[in-house]
């Protein structure tokens, strides 16, 4: 009963067609990149080039997910940078650990 009362003074806005279309476009891009990754997995020989392509495509996908779906692109610049800058530590962790791993494989 109280429920029906509430519903009367809620104004539902019409769907934002343009925004929804944009979201589906992003979804399409993510799908297409995944499909291309899938094709590359079976056509290119394993090596630094293949790995580089995969990493590049993954970063593009990550950019779309974080920027569009998580809306980070449209947030205030301070928030944007305080999320992105700490990721430098992850890059450093990656470089240091892979370097270490190769060193271990040479000792073994």
């Amino acid at each position: 009963m109280a429920h029906a009362e509430n519903e009367s003074h809620v104004t539902v806005l019409p769907p934002d067609k343009e925004k929804i279309k944009k979201l589906w476009t992003v979804a399409g891009i993510l799908g297409v990149i995944t499909a291309i990754e899938f094709i590359i997995a079976f056509t290119l020989h394993a090596g630094p080039l293949k790995t580089a392509i995969f990493v590049g495509m993954t970063i593009v996908k990550a950019g779309y997910i974080v920027g569009e779906f998580m809306h980070l692109r449209y947030e205030v610049k301070v928030l944007f940078w305080s999320i992105l800058i700490p990721l430098i530590f992850i890059v450093w962790m990656l470089v240091a650990f892979i370097y270490e791993g190769i060193a271990i494989s040479l000792v073994r």
């Binding site: 589906w24 979804a27 993510l30 995944t34 993954t58 996908k61 779906f69 947030e75 650990f97």
Partner: protein, 227 residues
């Protein structure tokens, strides 16, 4: 920072979670690069304890198609399921901005369905991984071993299965938590809690978490299955 307290805290939580997942994936990289890689033709590849397996040779099964070699097809399907559920989540957030309760309910249901479908796929994949393929493979003790546990596996060095269980398991646990949170959001939408509150910000906050889970899967897909 132009964001509400709740959203800001969600971002900071996701930052810390990103570090946890990076630690797991980077350790995978370290251990993998410290093992011998398989040299030779991909077609002639056989499982061995002496080198790291090629992932596409391990994950080549699809339900109901036993014995057919379809490398990475099932993981590809899982990836699409998760991307789609991310889209339906963002559509729920969009509907929340417009105070459209019916649309939020609809899109949250699709998101829930996607999450549950993903978890089901993962349950099948784990079962298959643990039980193993027909031939099995010889382990150090000279016996044939089928499937995988934390100590041995037929696919390669013990670390391979350990990382599979840990990384996809930790991600799967995140998906499971996400499904629980999504259900809570759906429930609160249906009971009209957010309508009475006057905004659907909770949908947005849980949406951030759900997209993050999708984001992590994008990285797991690349570094565990493709590379």
């Amino acid at each position: 920072m132009g964001a509400s307290y709740g959203k800001l805290m969600m971002w900071f939580f996701l930052m810390s979670d990103a570090f946890t997942f990076s630690a797991l994936l980077i350790t995978y990289g370290l251990v993998r690069s410290s093992h011998k890689a398989y040299q030779g033709a991909v077609d002639a590849f056989t499982f061995s304890q002496n080198y790291w397996p090629i992932p596409e040779k391990v994950f080549e099964s699809v339900p109901f198609l036993e014995g057919v070699s379809l490398p990475l097809v099932f993981v590809g399907i899982m990836t699409f399921i998760l991307i789609m559920s991310s889209v339906t989540m963002v559509l729920a957030v969009e509907a929340g901005h417009r105070m459209d309760r019916k649309a939020v309910e609809k899109w949250m249901l699709w998101t829930l369905l996607g999450g549950i479908a993903f978890l089901s796929c993962q349950a099948w994949e784990w079962t298959h991984f643990i039980h193993g393929a027909h031939h099995g493979s010889a382990v150090a003790e000279g016996t044939t071993f089928f499937g995988a546990n934390l100590a041995h596996n037929q696919y390669g060095p013990p670390d391979f299965a350990a990382f599979f269980f840990f990384i996809t398991g930790f991600h799967g646990f995140h998906v499971f938590s996400g499904v629980c949170l999504n259900f809570l959001i759906y429930f609160n939408t249906v009971t009209g809690l957010y309508e009475r509150r006057g905004h659907y910000e909770m949908v947005e906050k849980v949406g951030l978490y759900w997209h993050f889970v999708d984001l992590v899967w994008v990285f797991v897909f690349t570094f565990f299955y493709l590379v």
